[in-house]
Amino acid sequence: MTAIYQALYEFISRFFSPSIITLVVTTLVYAAIPLVFILVYGLVAILGEMKISAWLQDRLGPMRTGPKGILQPIADILKLLQKEDTTPRAADRPLYRLAPWVAFIGSYAAFAALPFSVAYIGARLNTGIFYILSMGSLVVVSILLAGWGSDNKYSMIGAMRSVAQIISYEIPVALAVITVVVIAGSMDLQTITDLQAGGINNWFLLGGPKHLEGFGGSTNFVLVPVMLVAFAIYFIGSLAETNRVPFDVPEAESELVAGYHTEYSGMKFALFFLSEYASMFAVGSVASILFLGGWQSPLGDTMNGPAMGFLWFILKGLSFVFAQIWIRWTLPRFRVDQVMRICWKVLIPFGLTAVAAASVIAVAIQ
């Protein structure tokens, strides 16, 4: 084996310099980690959605595939792979084909800036959170492509609704994020996580780090309600951004068949599906980074570290996914006008207030 690698390396190094090879290999490995994570997590999340929804309704869920039905998502994927890949005759083919990839790339790209652990972050950008928010907006493009490309009225209406909704909800989400960014003084997610070191008490949701200069005491006391409001706004807004219930007007089954992905089948549908679940985790983990200390252990220094960081990060992200599933199987869908009303009349005023309050506190700290 080593000999083969050696020969391969020598062959490639005839054309490229070793530093470039190292760069390419490192990049590929770094890029593969989130991809593998998304695929594995996708299976878990699909099973979770099926099982949790069943349990919440006093059902058992899938029970026949494998022990207790745990192989059901694999069976579903295999079924999707076998499905005929249809394209409507009147579809705008290039756009129609492009849409699922854009959706998946948008969700996948967001993972690049997520600090999974102190040891792993795909790309440590000093504008990390800004990058993630903008990648979230890429999903809007794909939805519009899908809706337009399908040449189907339901797809089109779904896409329109979705775009209107996501663009609207980006504002409160951004406001909630700014609230944290103003206090943390950085858009780098790793820095924001580092600030919250030292246990649950230092999480931004509970008033931020107490050990730093300026924090603690009365500042902390004022910051808690601001952060709670920002957290609530972020969470509600993220539900809307991922088109989850109760904000699922874009894919409202009872009105629009399936919204923008009505015409998609087989692998293309699977990509949309995967992208939705990846986004669910992405927004959940962003919430946990901003408010719940990211990969930091809630117990301070106990059970902290690079490996445990992964665990905490995934655990926190998954609890958000669980909450989203829980909400999905509880609440009914909003009407379109209610969706807009909640965004513009409730979340944005509150968000602005939170930003203003956070700014005042930030000035006071300095």
Binding site: A54, L56, Q57, R59, L60, W326, I327, W329, T330, K345
Partner: protein, 210 residues
């Protein structure tokens, strides 16, 4: 409603709903995994499933077929001849006098209304508890309850035909005899009830012949 009370109401009702739902997470599940715990499937009283006809008791009265709203019962009968004794039904001891040569129920058409069960005078068509009887072919759902094979049915049909032919000959002879014995009166003057019942109706002719 006020702006803030709307918000608090919205949030509190959402939380209320979420608490109700999450309490179900650990509850006992109501799903029954159908074929597995077999004996668990105790059907409710008077459950309506596959029909069964006890042919020993069927008198071939056709009441069930006529009651059926979807016409899925087909009955063919042949009258017995006087020297055949079909016996009586085990229930209600009704005299049987028809050979049931065909008794088909198409369970594919049946709507399980149970309307055929009520009129049966001998209570021989009943709903059972059998509900697992799916078939790959639709014809297999036509249940043939008649106990006799084609040959036997043909035999009875033949017997009946012979008997009726003979009865007709008998009747013709009697009519001729009557005409010979009473030449004076015109046939039209005879009252309609005058022919002896034994001659007019083969059914009344109970005694053994030949």
């Amino acid at each position: 409603m006020g702006y803030f009370s709307d918000i608090t109401r919205g949030l509190s009702t959402a939380v209320k709903g979420l608490t109700v739902v999450i309490r179900h997470l650990g509850r006992r599940k109501v799903t029954r995994q159908y074929p597995e715990p077999k004996n668990e499937y105790i059907l409710p009283e008077r459950a309506r499933n596959r029909l069964y006809v006890n042919m020993d008791d069927c008198i071939g009265c056709d009441k069930c077929a006529r009651a059926c709203p979807v016409d899925c019962i087909e009955i063919e009968t042949v009258k017995s001849i006087p020297e055949e004794d079909l016996g009586v039904t085990t229930r209600f001891a009704k005299k049987k006098s028809l050979w049931v040569t065909k008794f088909d129920i198409d369970m594919a058409k049946c709507c399980y209304c149970s309307l055929c069960v009520w009129p049966c005078p001998t209570e021989c068509i009943v709903m059972t508890e059998v509900f697992e009887f799916s078939e790959p072919k639709r014809e297999n759902l036509i249940y043939h309850y008649a106990t006799m094979d084609a040959a036997e049915a043909e035999l009875h049909r033949q017997n009946r035909a012979n008997y009726e032919a003979q009865a007709n000959v008998q009747r013709a002879k009697q009519a001729a005899d009557r005409a010979a014995n009473a030449p004076a009166g015109p046939p039209s003057s005879t009252p309609p009830s005058s022919p002896p019942p034994s001659a007019a109706s083969p059914w009344a002719n109970k005694g053994p012949k030949h």
